[in-house]
Symmetry: C3
Subunit: 429 residues, 3 copies
Amino acid sequence: MTSNSILTAEDLFKFIEKVWRYMRSITGDGVRLTLKDGKDLIPELEIYEIPTGTKIWDWTVPKEWIFRSAKILNSRGGVVLDSDDNNLHVLNYSEPVNKKLKLEALQKHLFSLPEYPSAIPYRTSYYERNWGFCIQHEARKKLLPDDYQVTIDSEFIDGSMTFGQVYIPGKVKNEILFSTYICHPMMANNELSGPAIALGLSSYLKSLNNYYSYRILFYPETIGSLYFLSRNLEHLQRNLIAGYVLTCLGDELTWNFMPSRTGITLADKIAKRVLERLKIKYTHNSFLMRGSDERQYCSPNIDLPVCSVMRSKYGSYPEYHTSKDNLNFISTNGLHESLYFYTKIIDEFESNRIPKLKIYGEPMLSRRNLRKTLGGGELSSDENLISNVIAYSDGHHDLTEMSKLFETSVNSISEIVKLLEKHKIIACL
Amino acid sequence: MTSNSILTAEDLFKFIEKVWRYMRSITGDGVRLTLKDGKDLIPELEIYEIPTGTKIWDWTVPKEWIFRSAKILNSRGGVVLDSDDNNLHVLNYSEPVNKKLKLEALQKHLFSLPEYPSAIPYRTSYYERNWGFCIQHEARKKLLPDDYQVTIDSEFIDGSMTFGQVYIPGKVKNEILFSTYICHPMMANNELSGPAIALGLSSYLKSLNNYYSYRILFYPETIGSLYFLSRNLEHLQRNLIAGYVLTCLGDELTWNFMPSRTGITLADKIAKRVLERLKIKYTHNSFLMRGSDERQYCSPNIDLPVCSVMRSKYGSYPEYHTSKDNLNFISTNGLHESLYFYTKIIDEFESNRIPKLKIYGEPMLSRRNLRKTLGGGELSSDENLISNVIAYSDGHHDLTEMSKLFETSVNSISEIVKLLEKHKIIACL
Amino acid sequence: MTSNSILTAEDLFKFIEKVWRYMRSITGDGVRLTLKDGKDLIPELEIYEIPTGTKIWDWTVPKEWIFRSAKILNSRGGVVLDSDDNNLHVLNYSEPVNKKLKLEALQKHLFSLPEYPSAIPYRTSYYERNWGFCIQHEARKKLLPDDYQVTIDSEFIDGSMTFGQVYIPGKVKNEILFSTYICHPMMANNELSGPAIALGLSSYLKSLNNYYSYRILFYPETIGSLYFLSRNLEHLQRNLIAGYVLTCLGDELTWNFMPSRTGITLADKIAKRVLERLKIKYTHNSFLMRGSDERQYCSPNIDLPVCSVMRSKYGSYPEYHTSKDNLNFISTNGLHESLYFYTKIIDEFESNRIPKLKIYGEPMLSRRNLRKTLGGGELSSDENLISNVIAYSDGHHDLTEMSKLFETSVNSISEIVKLLEKHKIIACL
């Protein structure tokens, strides 16, 4: 595969396997390595660093977390737990520790899931110093009274928060956003399917001669999207016509739609239109069930047109946020279906337009060879369609809506819109 | 009862009895005495005087009417009618007269109700000089040809129009209005029940640590509310969130809702919500059946959110505007029910809020101890509710609407709103 | 008939007969003669000239076309076709030609209707130089190989485009528009019925003491209405409350309603109200079926409240744009019905008002003798109606809507509106 061909679901699965072991977090080399591997696939992926201490509205970029290893040994030197086995074993953002502990003291720093005893849970402590280990509950139950040696080799430095962006300029400044996150260690559906699909869409977009501008964001969840919003809110409120949070896109079990807060934005309308056109059965979730960066994009005072289409939805499948959300939970076919769905979203935007008449009254069409010069007879169906497209280019009807109204294919209307744009009679959103 | 306890329906009935005999009108000492007795109960009641001749939009404050007595004697000196028996016997605002008249000449100055022969009607002539007597029709029919001596001892002076106001500042400038009138002599349901309930609500409000500011107005009907509006229109259009006209609140027969002109204001919404919550059966009147100061508050160009909940409605019960609308027509229980209803209106506003997020994006909750610092697990139901309240604090959802949406009690939401206000995350309307 | 009486359908039919033979086009003496005959009926008809070369948004006024005659002779000198027999025989705006041609060369310049062989079609070539003849298909089929002499005696000069306007000022600047066109040669339903009805309405309006101002336009279709719009757009967007395109009003076969683009303007509302009141069965066309100057009036960026009520609709009857749309296709009765309908439209506007309160609060009615000075009793039904009219004079309710709401006749409400206008309490749209 060269960097110019379109990434397939197989390529995306390989990418996920490649970056699987990196210790991702909201800062640190795990993120950098993940983005670097992404850049190998999409050279247009630009990587940025936001220094520790940067203010982001109500938030501040924390110190960067450097993690090397985490281990628990028993008094005989036997390995009870080793982060080399699974990144999830360490409480993410653990401070350094190196001490001997009795079992009951250790227990306070262990996290496990009694209701799911074979899974390692995923736990974090980004904004308060803490340390801990995540462990299968069945293993935890077998721990005997002993003196345990716990070692976490980590460090906090004045570093930075890393993020990536692919910006694909189009013919117009109006833009469409895909936002994904890169802060979860060793989980597949939530989250590596998200960055993988984002890379796939980037490669797809590069193959297009796109009309809209596209922005694909790879941020740590929450603080990352807040950083982006805080630096670009005016631009977005003026130019963003639709956006989608890419997450939970790797399995094949279900489809889920998470609307924007109002549920009536162009992003919602197009998502539902494509879901219906592809005859996909999906669950229409309430915004009350939100859980990812739509929380920021749809926040009061921000109110951007952003929603999400997912497969098995965060918070609603047992494997979520555990070691069981692994490479077996997702599949090449699941990635393929999700990629296909979002390329159809892009196609819908690219083939769609919201035209607006630029002149007053009907244009003089015959001098542009858009109407026969001979008058008095009936208009041809093409002439009629040109006339109708002009009459409804009021900035409110998109091509699909015109298609229904005129009982004509979107393609025919699209052709006419292009022609009228060329003649500077209309301009499109 | 001290001036600091909450007035009961019994207290209000006593107030009505006390002020019963004062000759109220749109000006004069009857109003002053009534307000003075009110001030004895609510010392915060401020009394104002608006001089004769003051311009009020299309109106002018008339001369003040001083009334002492009105009598008709027959030629033998026998008393035919004496205003000492009932204030209604004199045409309100009668000019002075002192002359002998034949019966047929007297007839032109008599007002009675053939269809309700035992009742003295209530008649006024505020803005044109006139004189007259209101009399039971059955008494009028018995009058024999004779020379009658008619005497009305009254006077018009450059005085003033008197009104009272209780203003109870709250934590915010946004205010709720209760408007009542004090210009009707010797009638109970319409009108003394109105000022009585207004005093009761004033005492109730004093017992609260109220959030909204409250304004309770005691004005002569029509010209009084117009005076108030003409001097405060901008303030009201900016800060008045709801208002109610207090009238016809003393009997126990029925309940009536008079909507605002549009019927969709916050005042309407809260009134109907409380009526329904209390399972009160009521008549939903058309605004065409309006009759009191909602005529001014809902006038085009004014358009304030003001409506009214009444018992037997003005204009719709036989005793209305007659001597039969007396102390027997109302009851302590009727006053009690009405007072209770309006305290529930106040409670609904006080327990309600319309929150608005003050920051951009989701706030950083864990540094305020509003979320556990440990991430990755499920949010607790409290954490979830905090997050939902923030997400819907868009300035359009009130607590009750959030309660329905989140399927949680208003109290739980209210607690969270208070917490978020304390943390300066949201502010409320 | 004097110029001061109301034109009858008979008068209009005579006018149509009189101007029948003039060679109308978008410019030239045919238009001038037609307008001059119109001015003989309505002296208020003002005639204007717009010079060749004048810019009109996307258009330019073309050279004026002077036409004298068009003929085809066969080699024996026999007349094959002569424009003296029918104006439609010449391609409108034909350039001069004088040459001998073989039949196959001539064929390229002949226009006929195979599907309607006895009719001469109507064809034009305003904006590209061309020449041609329109001929019955049955005659065309009989043409034998021969050398034909073709002569078109015409000329293009720097002249002007001619249009007419009757402006009847009313009591207010708000205006109602009737727009018709005068560019079609020798066709009756489309188009002479339009100018005829426009003259009839002008005479009707002159007989009224009209409240609204009326503008009746006689323009060449498309470029004429565009000229008018380009010079008056701001004025119209501020003052035009409704407009109607007058076309296809001479036959008796059907009724057709062509809505404005949005379908919800005051023009639509009143047209549908009158159609329903007169119990006229009509076809409600889609705006997609538009065909006359509503194309300009309802264009995006222009968006004026203009629609149309027609009889047999342009484009939908076989005789349309052929020599069969002649004086037999229309009738005095058809014109009479159409004239009657539009006078009812005018009556509806003239008897209608959209009142707006000019003062704040309720006015002081008794000092204007609009309410009895004696208060306390019930309002009379007139007093009540006055009060209701004032309360709903919010600039959104028209008399008919008030009539429904108050369950009273429009006339009663209208009387009260006049009274309140006289007293400067309300003003009307």
